[in-house]
Symmetry: C2
Subunit: 349 residues, 2 copies
């Protein structure tokens, strides 16, 4: 297995975020990626490389899954924030909700709301550099798998991506790394690609990006949106116009038995679809010790989760998503990847 990592992730370091009605220290911090990197190295999971150099292919890959105007906004947002007299991190203020349907405003406060769906995703001076580096990790990992150089690759992305829509940031996510990987696999010859999201939170951005597509099946196992972020997507009833989306919402307190049942159902969907390649947005905020989540998976559960997915034997790209118990994050990710790699070797063609 190859891991793709860029130190540029550290350029995105939000000061604070809106939690419980207050601005509190951010939970999506640079130490997360460093912890995972250390654990991946310690676990002997294979080489760690930097992504391909920055170049025109990055923009092209982003435009396959994101609206160009959104990319332009994101690249210039913090500069405009400063130019209009603000300082620090940029946060949106209001949103084009029901009844508010005007065009994109000109002022940065309005543009931030237009291109987002939450108030907890600060844009910093380094956000664009970090987010594009993360997407580059996903692109590089997908290319390596698509070309057959590796059967498994781990894109150690930060900031995460699975909440980002084609045209909206949210949930600490700016660019949808998993969607970039899935599209690279499609564009490299895989006829049918599955995205199997195992983060605690619904992969609403990925669902949105591939909503009307019949060549990419999106699956997500997550906390019930009636109770948990992102609240307005993730219901089992959301199957998409061509039936290529499946959600598996689970109640607060779910432990491995019920979680694994949902995984089995999702794996059945993967097999029935006849997937040629797989992308796994990996959040380990399903962990019992996660500070903002309420499932009860343990570190010793994650090898089995990885193994069940690895047993599919598919060319697979894993993208790093959530997980905020920083001290346990590396161990949990390494446990998943170790199980994935072992089963993949055993179960592959």
């Amino acid at each position: 297995m190859l891991t793709v990592f860029s130190p540029d992730h550290a350029q995105h370091h939000a000061r604070a975020e809106l939690i419980d009605g207050q601005m509190l220290p951010a939970v999506e911090v640079p130490a997360r990626a460093e912890q995972v990197l250390t654990a991946v190295r310690a676990a002997g999971l294979g080489a760690v490389v930097e992504p391909d150099p920055d170049g025109p292919a990055d923009r092209a890959a982003l435009e396959r899954v994101h609206e160009p105007r959104y990319l332009d906004f994101l690249e210039g947002a913090h500069r405009q924030w400063l130019a209009e007299g603000h300082d620090g991190d940029a946060l949106p203020l209001c949103w084009p909700a029901r009844g508010l349907q005007g065009p994109e405003p000109e002022a940065i406060d309005g543009r931030l709301g237009y291109w987002s769906f939450d108030a907890g995703t600060p844009v910093t001076s380094g956000t664009w550099a970090a987010a594009t580096a993360a997407a580059r990790c996903a692109r590089t990992a997908a290319l390596v798998v698509a070309e057959g150089v590796e059967r498994l690759a781990f894109a150690l992305c930060r900031p995460p991506g699975h909440h980002a829509y084609a045209d909206q940031m949210g949930g600490y996510c700016f660019l949808n790394n998993a969607a970039v990987a899935a599209q690279v696999l499609r564009d490299s010859g895989a006829g049918r690609v599955v995205v199997l999201d195992v983060d605690y939170h619904h992969g609403n951005g990925t669902q949105g990006i591939f909503w009307a597509r019949d060549d990419v099946l999106t699956l997500s196992i997550h906390a019930d949106p009636r109770q948990e972020y992102p609240y307005f997507a993730g219901y089992a009833s959301e199957v998409g116009p061509s039936g290529r989306n499946r959600n598996f919402p689970l109640p607060s307190g779910t432990a491995i038995d019920a979680w694994a049942e949902a995984l089995e159902a999702a794996l059945g969907e993967v097999r029935a679809f006849g997937a040629d390649a797989l992308v796994v947005p990996l959040g380990v905020d399903t962990y019992e010790g996660d500070p903002i989540s309420r499932f009860r998976l343990t570190t010793s559960d994650f090898p089995g989760v990885g193994a069940a997915i690895g047993a599919l034997g598919l060319p697979t790209v894993v993208t790093m998503e959530g997980g905020y118990a920083v001290d346990a994050l590396g161990a949990n990710v390494a446990a998943f990847l170790t199980g994935l790699a072992a089963a993949h070797v055993a179960g592959g063609p």
Copy 2:
């Protein structure tokens, strides 16, 4: 002229609000209403009374312009916020923006987003009491005018209301006091009612509430939404399905000459409509010294603004909306009302 005021406004006192990406001391504070009350008394503008006692008529009046489920949410929101383990003021976190269209969630974080469109409108333990008292002021003022007891009444409402939709809070607003007043006038026999909003910010909630109605004409003179809150509504192109809405967006830096031209155009619409009664959501954040706004009206401009509206000679209810230069707020409101009352006597039937 009669002024209707409730001391219950002080029960809504937000700790802080999201401004410029930070939680800063709220600008919509109880001192605002107290300053206006003092100035109204000092100006000898007539009696100041408390609104009708709290009763079933309040809920009925609210349900004429608000969705009952939204009212239920607002009444219980802060209790649920506390019951779910939060403290302090409640703020929403994410919104049902493009692509997120699920039903109302169960958790308070989700419900707050479902029933709002911004992150700058904290719900406190006293918000419901204050907001319903403000709406009661508006209802009482409208009844007094509708019954012919007074030709002019000033509802000294706080919190303000003109940003509140039938089903969404935002912009410091929870219940749309001006809409309540307009509906009371309609229900009391006025066949055609005009709402003429002169706040610096677009009266988007009022526009939304009466959008499809042909018996209430909504007019708003305000800062261009490309540059200013609420950003996603307030364009001149928004005329409504029956042409009963007119917006007059003006650029940053607008002073009285250009502002008065827009007012003349709006007054022409009032006359052409053949209004039987008028509601004026009054914001004096058009004032040159307002800390969050960028027009350049002076205190000495406000009597003329009031006089131009008073010269219509219509039964009129004024509702207090924005204005955040607290030290000048009373003088500006009293200036407007003095001009209004003087011209009304001169111009009335």
